[in-house]
Symmetry: C2
Subunit: 360 residues, 2 copies
């Protein structure tokens, strides 16, 4: 456990100044002879520049922050893999935080990142604009993935992913449509990578409609407000608000919400689950209540997770490219500063398996 060699050691051993060593290793100019000598000495001493010194000097941590609600949710696992893949190719370390869907924990983690001088973070936000204000105020580069924080002064018409772009593979640099009410809290001006929820939900609802379903429910979790809105829009007025229910994030609460939904509204014949945890809960709750899928109730689940295919029956899903979303979000956060990036919307795909059938 010898202590690591410093740049000074290398400089001394190579008979040059520290500045020269730094230049050689940073790709600066140096004469071929000295460059070679420095490189040889550095290799021989197994010298690795200390990120600590460098970061302190340039007053920023090289790393990226990554905040997700729950790593047990396979979709976020995919998203993380995407971020990590991109970060690795950029040589950036990633510090990870799991918020558990709790804004307070999220705020705490933001504070931790601030303390670490991590100035670039990609997050699946849990808290609202207020939670993220400190990060932005500190000049952090933030990119949201998968969702946006709820907006204080909501008006259903403004949606950063304005959708209706079935052919458009991705949308970069959209100008926000619709004027923001003067008094309302300004929405966060933060780039984001989102799935085309509106199109995804609409396709699913149309599909279910085509199978004859009229009473369709939406089962959401925290952060699924955009999807719920898309659902409301897709089923069209009048919206039966009793058929739009939310869990609070935990698997238990998702199960409770699903079970409650099935019991209070036995007339429903199809449900759209806003995430894979909700879908899982729906399957479990249906089974517990002796509702057969798809005979008694049809189910479409957001997120194409590997196990969707293993289910009984295999689950029809709205697939969103989790890994890609992570990768692109990371690209955005890395590119930031060079060019101001805006929202990116990735396409969803309805993958039809066996969990939907005609209305009984």
């Amino acid at each position: 456990m010898e202590k690591r060699a410093t740049i000074k050691d290398v400089a001394e051993a190579a008979g040059v100044g520290v500045a020269t060593v730094s230049r050689v290793l940073s790709g600066g100019s140096a004469s071929p002879s000295t460059r070679e000598r420095v490189l040889a000495v550095a290799a021989q001493l197994d010298y690795r520049p200390s990120a600590l010194g460098r970061n302190l000097r340039q007053r920023r941590t090289g790393g990226l922050g990554l905040l997700v609600p729950d790593l047990t949710d396979t979709f976020y696992g995919q998203l993380c893999e995407g971020v990590l893949a991109c970060a690795r190719s950029a040589g950036e370390p990633v510090v990870l935080g799991s918020t558990g869907g709790d804004p307070e924990q999220e705020a705490e983690l933001i504070g931790m990142l601030l303390e670490q001088s991590v100035d670039r973070v990609i997050a699946v936000p849990t808290g609202d604009a207020e939670t993220w204000a400190p990060a932005l105020r500190a000049g952090m580069t933030v990119v949201f993935a998968d969702r946006l924080p709820p907006e204080a002064g909501r008006d259903g018409d403004r949606d950063p992913a304005e959708s209706a772009l079935d052919d458009l593979m991705l949308l970069d640099g959209v100008a926000p449509r619709g004027r923001v009410p003067e008094g309302a809290a300004r929405p966060l001006d933060v780039p984001a990578v989102l799935a085309d929820d509106r199109a995804g939900i609409r396709t699913a609802v149309r599909y279910l409609r085509g199978l004859g379903h009229r009473r369709i429910a939406f089962l959401g979790g925290p952060g699924h407000d955009r999807r719920a809105d898309a659902f409301r829009e897709a089923v069209g007025p009048p919206v039966d608000e009793e058929l739009v229910v939310f869990g609070t994030g935990s698997r238990d609460s998702a199960y409770a919400a699903a079970s409650g939904l099935f019991q209070s509204r036995p007339d429903l014949s199809a449900v759209v689950a806003g995430g894979n945890v909700l879908g899982e809960a729906a399957v479990l709750a249906a089974r517990e209540l002796d509702l057969r899928v798809p005979k008694d109730v049809s189910l479409v689940m957001y997120d194409d997770v590997p196990w969707a295919e293993l289910c009984a029956p295999p689950l029809t899903v709205i697939a969103q490219p989790g890994r890609d979303m992570g990768y692109r979000a990371c690209e955005l956060v890395l590119r930031e500063g060079t060019r101001r990036a805006r929202t990116v919307v990735l396409p969803t795909e309805l993958i039809i398996r066996g969990s939907c059938g005609p209305r009984r």
Copy 2:
């Protein structure tokens, strides 16, 4: 986006020296009056000590490293959640790396952690002792979770989790039994948190035996050597080595291994999958080959993941406490230095669902 206040600013505003501010914030001694004044000023300036400066000063990064093979694998998601929970309660940031089951990537990530001066790592190792040598040589505190690196000079009798402790909830500070051959490569002296693989596999094999199965296969992935050994021991000699097959880590390769196994040995009647990705592959491959579970083939899968219950049929599993393993591993790595810790073995549990039946 004002720049952050430094300790100097606080000192100046409070009319004291920087040393005093540092002491107050680090819990050192100070008079009540100055302490109060400093605290007030710090709060008012929204001062947060820079981890960069502190870390440089004390020549270490506060943070923890966490290396897992694949976040898409739900078990590792659980493990990560455990680590993060423990790390958060200790106020330590966690930098995450995903090795993809590739020793080369793992080595690269270790190098990255070294560069960041992260001196404490918890890892699900992918590479061997050689991969980890640089980390140990640099004085890193390493704790392995879920598995150990393969040992150069293997002898089947030495197993850090000596098992046979069905009642013992956990085993702390076991002395390695059996002498290490003189010439053989010394096993890494690294604390670890493992599941009681031997007991888990043995229980599963006994269960299958009780159902009448005689040709039982083991389907493993990288790092499942201990489980394979436990399997060999459980079925007892002679071991039909054709029934012990491995995938390389990817879902595709797992599927290929499972499919190949089923096709080359149609006489097998039960399979033990060494991990949930392998279990998933086995279900898929069986279905593709029109083998019904459990009628034609029985299946026991390692890892109790939420979707095991959703499967058709619900999967009988060997549950290991992923979250706990992460939490304990993190505790170990934090405690290290205070007291030299050794291997911890956590119990497994056979959860019987519907994927096993009597031999047809």
